[in-house]
Amino acid sequence: MSAIGWGAILFWGGAMALNFYLAERFPNSRPVRALVATLFGVTLLVLWQGLVRGLNVSPVILPAPSDIAAAIAANLPLLWGDFVQTILKGALSGYLIGCGAAILVAIAVDRSPFLQRGLLPVGNFVAALPIVGIAPILVMWFGFDWQSKAAVVVVMVFFPVLVNMVAGLAATDALSRDLMATWSASYGQSLIKMRLPAALPFLFNGLKIATTLALIGAIVAEFFGSPTRGMGFRISTSVGQLDLALVWAEIAVAALAGSGLFGLIAMIEKAATFWHPSQRGR
């Protein structure tokens, strides 16, 4: 192994020692927390770069981070086109339709305890199934363009959100319900003023799980057929051409999109459920 590899390992050791020192010295400071996490991420990248260069790993097996950055810079318009096709058209539209449908169905189901008792176990069961498997079927029905990807995403996000929303709507305690009854609140009033707000923490939990599922569904569905753009299409064709830098560039974009979507939902959650114990005191 060359000097670059050893240098990277040395850097990693030094940074980890610094991390341990910082973590013991300032256990409760927020900036230090962020710093420690960032440092850890940077050391991983440096270690990756150093080992790939130091051990002369072929770029066909694992490209170095610098190669990936170069591939991103060289292919910006291409990556943007794939992003629009897969994330904005496929994943996001499916996510909105699926989550919206799940919320509406949950509210409808909530009025009937019979349906609730029947639908919850079935929903829980379906949520554990390998739903990605329906991707080939939906691609056959809805064609190769983004509509079939959106359909896969709808089915994938529907059940986790449904199960969480139904559980959330049932989460009000008897005391609050009695209070609404003493005010002779109608069904609609108590739904909007008590039960929907009480269901929000559960709903956001489901929405967060669904963000990752949406991206997975949209990308995997493209493996079964797609127009000549899209992240899943690019990944599978670039693997065939052994252009792994471009594949990793797509993965970086997918990771950024996934983290961004997750962060967006988390921000909305923070604003909408500021009153909940899990959000207080931060």
């Binding site: 927390r33 080939p136 029905w141 990308i219 995997v220 493996f223 993965i251 990771a255 979507l261």
Partner: protein, 287 residues
């Protein structure tokens, strides 16, 4: 009885909807065929035909059931059409990956609970790593490992392990931190060492959390294995069965593979649940 009835009602509603959808989606083909042959079909004939097409848009439930039955019992186990063979391939990779992922998750959780630096550096990245649609990388991992000469079960197991390690990690961290201050203080008054605290208090109290996340993890491992079987090259496994069905338009084959996967998933979760019941009962922790 009280809980079975609603579930049965929902299930039969789903099956009824399925039959309705099968008629709606398949009738176009029936009418096209009839128009090409120059005959008119009555509604009754149309209904009968939509139930037994060779390559329906949506197979009727009984066709899928027949496909499943044929796949599981109608073939020799070594035959390429046997769902037993494909399920076994998928199952073994799932189990290997699940074992790997669970071990990694538990080890990391132990590290995180005992070292603040590990907690502060690893945890945020473990969470961030799950916002990455990791399944998208699956085909690449398979191809790259194949070029290194690693084929068969191991690449699939790695992807399954990656998917199942996160639920185990999160559940285990929560579980190892579950003992409250009073219990920890009690052990301190006994002058218990760190290892003793771990084996006698933290590990036992983490069991309910561990099993809850094992159920999620085993389902995730199965999804990972199936997606890992999708890229071309894999010829065995439920994922490969799905892919070849979609290439040749064999819808009944796709649906049978899908239901075989569902049965496998349900079976795995059920087994973990049974072990959970046994273990928790032995430990006196049955809710």
């Amino acid at each position: 009885m009280r809980s079975i009835l609603p579930i049965l009602a929902v299930l039969s509603a789903i099956i009824a909807l399925w039959y309705g959808a099968a008629v709606l989606l398949n009738k176009q083909w029936t009418y096209d065929q009839a128009a090409r042959a120059g005959v008119t079909v009555t509604t009754a004939q149309m209904l009968a035909d939509t139930m037994m097409q060779e390559r329906p848009v949506l197979p009727a439930p009984h066709q899928v059931a027949k496909g499943l039955w044929d796949g599981f019992t109608g073939q020799k186990i070594t035959s390429k059409k046997s769902l037993v063979l494909h399920s076994w391939i998928t199952f073994s990779a799932t189990m290997a990956g699940f074992g790997l992922g669970t071990a990694a998750g538990i080890l990391l959780a132990v590290g995180i609970v005992h070292s603040r630096a590990m907690d502060m550096s690893v945890m945020p990245w473990a969470i961030a790593s799950q916002t990455i649609p990791i399944l998208a990388i699956a085909p690449m991992v398979i191809v790259v490992l194949a070029s290194l000469g690693i084929k068969g079960l191991i690449p699939k197991a790695i992807i399954a392990a990656y998917l199942s390690f996160f639920p185990v990690l999160v559940g285990m961290v929560k579980g190892l931190r579950a003992p409250d201050a009073m219990q920890l203080d009690l052990l301190r008054t006994y002058n218990a060492s760190g290892a003793e605290t771990f084996w006698k208090l933290r590990l036992p109290s983490s069991m309910p959390y561990l099993f809850a996340s094992l159920k999620v993890g085993v389902a995730a491992a199965l999804v990972g294995t199936i997606v890992a079987e999708l890229p071309a090259g894999a010829s065995q496994g439920l994922g490969a069965r799905l892919l070849s069905g979609s290439y040749y338009g064999q819808t009944i084959q796709i649906w049978s593979a899908l239901f075989a996967a569902a049965i496998l998933a349900a079976g795995l979760v059920l087994i973990v649940g049974l072990i959970e019941g046994r273990v928790l009962k032995r430990m006196g922790m049955v809710r």
